[in-house]
């Protein structure tokens, strides 16, 4: 069979010129290069060609194949351009995308998670305890005298339920997260390193800076040789990680019945400015507390600390009214 290579070329060129998308390019490729396409047919005819025709036919076949392949490559590029061109003109990429709204974690949760997370990285474990507590765990075991004013109904909420361990007493809403210290120590032997986030209650009339319900985080580290210098080191590390390295801080002696020595930590945001903000209380666990949980006398020392979550969040985010946390205005929640 004789092939009119020039006509085939012209024909192919003509067809290629009219290719404008991938579909027509693909049918063009199949027509010439496909299994049953023209080029394979040309090559197939080599087997029946005479000995003297073969070299020329072979040469022409190769040239034709290269020519067609060239056309395809060329068209591939131009088709791509065309597609790009057309898509560019058809879409406004600045239109907003479509997606579900994301929900927001409450700022108090975020703050508690962040603070607990920092201590967790140092080896502390998060523990929780009940909000309804016994007078023993909330006061007695924490070395708070039986006549202490904080036990009054003015300072502690009592619930209408008898303490199963002491029929003369009612259960109360914990006024601090510290009773969890007692629970943890009663159930475990040192070494202990725990952080305890949770709700606490005090009968304060609600205003911009007071709430009858708020959140605290408590920390406790007990071992055989915990020193006061550890208290300073640990909490300095925490403050620097949480508030930044630029803050100034001081440990100011204070009084808590369940720690001795006790301190409050003040920080100042601006160096050189004496504008101290009280952020947390801390101290070395009082020996009476160890006694209350049944640890042998003099065997262990420990450090404890506690902070108010709302207060910390208010300081950090410039929130002026504590009630915003519990109002749960969508526009408040969605800022964090």
């Amino acid at each position: 069979m004789a092939w009119d290579f020039q006509t085939i070329r012209n024909q192919a060129q003509k067809e290629a010129d009219s290719i404008c998308d991938n579909t027509s390019l693909e049918s063009f490729r199949i027509k010439y290069l496909g299994k049953k396409g023209l080029i394979p047919q040309v090559y197939a005819s080599l087997s029946t060609a005479s000995k003297e025709d073969k070299p020329l036919l072979g040469k022409n076949a190769n040239e034709l194949k290269n020519f067609i392949s060239g056309l395809i490559e060329e068209k591939k590029l131009s088709v791509k351009d065309t597609i790009n061109q057309s898509s560019k003109s058809n879409i406004d990429v600045t239109l907003p995308g479509v997606a579900n709204d994301l929900g927001h974690s409450h700022l108090l949760t975020q703050t508690m998670d962040e603070i607990c997370g920092l201590f967790e990285k140092l080896g502390f474990i998060v523990q929780e305890g009940p909000e309804i507590e016994t007078e023993f765990n909330n006061f007695d075991a924490l070395n708070i005298p039986s006549n202490h004013p904080s036990r009054d109904g003015f300072d502690t909420f009592y619930v209408d339920q008898v303490d199963p361990g002491d029929k003369d007493k009612k259960l109360l809403l914990r006024s601090q997260t510290s009773p969890v210290q007692i629970r943890v120590m009663k159930a475990n032997k040192p070494p202990l390193a725990v952080v305890v986030p949770g709700k606490v209650y005090r009968p304060d009339a609600v205003d911009a800076s007071h709430s009858f319900m708020f959140h605290q985080i408590e920390g406790l580290l007990v071992d055989q040789d915990i020193k006061f210098s550890h208290l300073k080191g640990l909490l300095t590390t925490f403050c620097n990680r949480f508030f930044g390295d630029n803050i100034k801080m001081r440990f100011r002696p204070h009084f808590f019945p369940f720690t001795e020595p006790s301190a409050e930590i003040d920080i100042s945001w601006e160096k050189g400015k004496k504008d101290w903000l009280e952020i947390m209380g801390c101290g070395m666990v009082h020996p009476q507390v160890f006694k209350a949980v049944g640890y042998p006398k003099g065997k262990y020392t420990g450090l404890a600390f506690g902070l108010g979550v709302e207060r910390i969040a208010m300081l950090r985010y410039g929130i002026r009214d504590i009630r915003l946390f519990y109002e749960n205005d969508k526009r408040f929640l969605e800022q964090f």
């Binding site: 479509v98 579900n100 994301l102 929900g103 927001h104 974690s105 409450h106 080896g123 474990i125 523990q127 009940p130 909000e131 309804i132 006549n147 004013p149 109904g153 003015f154 909420f157 619930v159 209408d160 339920q161 809403l173 943890v184 475990n188 070494p191 202990l192 390193a193 725990v194 709700k199 009858f212 319900m213 040789d225 915990i226 020193k227 006061f228 210098s229 550890h230 300073k232 440990f251 100011r252 002696p253 204070h254 009084f255 001795e260 020595p261 006790s262 301190a263 070395m284 009082h286 020996p287 450090l303 946390f325 519990y326 109002e327 749960n328 205005d329 969508k330 526009r331 929640l333 969605e334």
Partner: protein
């Protein structure tokens, strides 16, 4: 408490500027909250912690300053007083309420203005001049912390003093001209007839010292802190006096201060001591306990390297009686006014405080691995919150205290509840037994503030007299996904909230087959609602809130859906361990079925029939469309289009294999629930 720097300087030398002194006091535990200049004096406002009643006076503060600045303390001298010839008629009837009472009668005094120096002192701390006698008692109170009271002796019926509980119905007009009703919980000073003072709080008008007073009885006493505090709270009356008695006065100072005042009275008002009695209730005045501590112990606890001299000097300056032996062991007897010093750590704190916490070293503890582990609850709760947030729900933190009205409005009046004995107000009279009122109130709050599409959740506690239980609540109103390109913008409905709650289960690894739903009859829901069961155990409910409840909460024109899940039961359920199943690469064959079935047939029944067919190629079965309307066999029918996906684990499925199973399933549906193929 206010302190005057000029006054302090009577007892201790202060050469540093007031600002530096304020810093040093603060860093020694007496926080100076405010410093102000008043007429050539510097006034500090100091916060005294409850363990330090000894600092509620000028001498106490001066003693702290002497320790901090390492200066000597000079106490005021009291001249020798002449002994009285006669005893005073004093009786302590209530031996619990009063441990010591010193009464001294001074005759022939002249009431006039107090000397200028003394007035300047008490004025600087905000007290007005009254007359020399009253001003002297006030001066001594501020100087030593021991409250005193002077009676007009001639007005005491029978010239008697009886310390007793008030009788029911007794009344007294106090010096502030207010009549106060008394009762047996209140300790009073009475004469032969009636109460003349509320012990430790305020004297009576009738017996007060006035310009015409000639003879006085000076009282210096120790009243029980708790009785004074309770009376003060009950009467809503507090004074400089009660403030100090409540925190505890110093037993020996009762006498010292009495003498100090008497010597000033004799000097400034003349007169003569004629009668005197010091009545002590036995059982007090126990000797302070010795505390023995090694210097080494102090250093190891603080991480310091102190010297014996440094420590001893601190103890001396604080008024401790201290001995030290060659082994550097201190034997310390704290003074009577330091009731807070009872054991080693108290001594260590004194050293730390006076050296200054800021001057102590810091180091990192090595935190050992303990055998406590974080609970499964905490991890699961975090996961649940993430799932809900990904569904567009925001977390709330709401008050856990609610009112009976809140319960009634939520049709929960009969629920078991836990009341608060001493609520702040009726709005917070109980601990919430359900999260529904909290969530409804937040929806209402947001709707009232112009918010429309609301999806909120809370993982919080509910409370009954059986205890507290962690519970999850989700509440939604408005449109879940708001975008103009999405055609469906219907208000949230039962299926939206059911879908979200379903994600909580599937997202935490609970298989769909473990969760089931049954129609419920909870009063706060409208028709579309269900109870949720996890492995057959009821753990929650989901549905649309009924109109009556919405009306009660004043939620207008919005449909609200709500779900509550008992997380405690949820946590205790077993979570199947995750296991790898090989991914099957053989193709999936999809066949749709279009059925007409009776409306009362549940989707669960269809699904059960489908999955109960004995084959191993059913991969997935899903509802594509539910159709109500025309072209159905009857009004009692609904149309369902479901898709069945088949896949073999061993090879590419052949048409015939799929057809055989699919037709058999269709036939089952026809036979068992009367389905009609469409």
């Amino acid at each position: 408490m206010k302190i005057s720097l000029n006054w302090i300087k009577d007892y201790v030398e202060v050469k540093i500027p007031p600002g530096s002194l304020a810093d040093k006091l603060t860093m020694a535990g007496l926080e100076v909250e405010n410093v102000s200049l008043v007429g050539g004096d510097t006034i500090f406002e100091v916060e005294v912690t409850p363990n330090r009643p000894d600092c509620l006076n000028m001498i106490g503060i001066a003693r702290e300053i002497s320790a901090v600045l390492n200066k000597e303390l000079a106490l005021p001298r009291t001249g020798k007083l002449s002994k009285a010839d006669a005893i005073c008629d004093i009786k302590i009837e209530d031996k619990k309420g009063c441990l010591r009472y010193i009464g001294t009668v001074v005759e022939n005094i002249s009431i006039q203005q107090a000397p200028k120096e003394l007035l300047k002192r008490i004025n600087s701390l905000g007290l007005r001049a009254i007359n020399n006698i009253v001003d002297i008692t006030n001066f001594c109170l501020l100087e030593t912390g021991q409250p005193l009271h002077a009676f007009d002796y001639d007005k005491l019926a029978g010239g008697r003093i009886i310390v007793r509980r008030a009788k029911d119905g007794e009344k007294i007009v106090t010096i502030d001209d207010i009549e106060r009703a008394l009762d047996p919980s209140i300790l009073v000073i009475a004469d032969a007839e009636k109460p003349v003072a509320i012990a430790g709080i305020m004297g009576g008008k009738e017996t007060e010292v006035t310009a015409s007073t000639r003879n006085i009885l000076l009282e210096s006493a120790y009243f029980d802190p708790i009785i004074v505090r309770k009376a003060s709270r009950k009467l809503g009356l507090s004074s400089d006096s009660s403030y100090r008695f409540e925190r505890g006065v110093d037993y020996p100072t009762v006498e010292n201060c009495s003498n100090r005042a008497l010597s000033l009275i004799l000097k400034e008002a003349g007169g003569k001591i004629v009668k005197s009695s010091d009545i002590k209730v036995t059982g007090r005045n126990k000797a302070a306990k010795e505390i023995v501590i090694e210097k080494e112990k102090i250093d190891s606890f603080l991480g310091t390297d102190t010297s014996v001299t440094q420590c001893k000097n601190i103890f001396d300056k604080l008024g401790f009686d201290v001995k030290v032996d060659k082994q550097k062991v201190f034997t310390i007897v704290p003074p009577s006014f330091r009731g807070d010093i009872v054991q080693e750590v108290d001594i260590i704190e004194e050293v730390a405080r006076i050296i200054g916490y800021d001057n102590l070293p810091l180091s990192m503890p090595s935190i050992k691995v303990s055998n406590i582990s974080e609970s499964k609850e905490i991890q699961l709760r975090k996961k649940i919150k993430q799932i809900l947030m990904a569904q567009g729900c925001s977390e709330t933190v709401t008050y856990t205290m609610i009112s009976q009205k809140n319960l009634n409005d939520s049709k929960l009046s009969d629920i078991e509840k836990l009341n608060i004995v001493n609520p702040l107000s009726q709005d917070q009279e109980m601990m919430r037994p359900s999260l529904l009122p909290s969530m409804l109130s937040r929806v209402q709050f947001n709707l009232n503030r112009g918010q429309k599409d609301i999806s909120l959740f809370e993982a919080g506690k509910i409370y009954t007299n059986k205890g507290e239980k962690e519970t999850l609540a989700v509440i939604m109103t408005g449109v879940a996904l708001r975008d103009w390109r999405k055609l469906k913008q219907n208000n949230v409905d039962f299926v939206d909230i059911k879908g979200i709650v379903g994600k909580v289960f599937s997202g935490t690894g609970i298989q769909d087959s473990a969760v089931s739903y049954k129609i419920s009859e909870l009063p706060f829901f409208a028709g579309e609602n269900a109870q949720i069961f996890l492995r057959g155990k009821k753990i929650g409910a989901v549905g649309r809130i009924c109109q009556e409840v919405l009306d009660a909460w004043d939620i207008k024109g919005a449909s609200v859906v709500f779900a509550e899940v008992d997380l405690e039961s949820f946590y205790s359920g077993s979570f199947s361990k995750k296991k790898y199943f090989p991914v099957i690469e053989y193709p999936i064959v999809t066949r749709d079925i279009s059925l007409a079935i009776k409306k009362d047939i549940l989707f669960d029944e269809i699904r059960n029939i489908v999955f109960n067919d004995n084959n191993d190629i059913m991969h997935n079965f899903n509802l594509i469309e539910e159709y109500l309307g025309e072209n159905l066999p009857g009004k009692e029918y609904k149309g369902l289009v479901c898709s069945c996906k088949y896949q073999s684990k061993t090879g590419t499925l052949k048409e015939e294999e799929v057809t055989k199973v699919h037709e058999r399933i269709c036939q089952s549906l026809i036979d068992k629930i009367g389905a009609i193929r469409r």
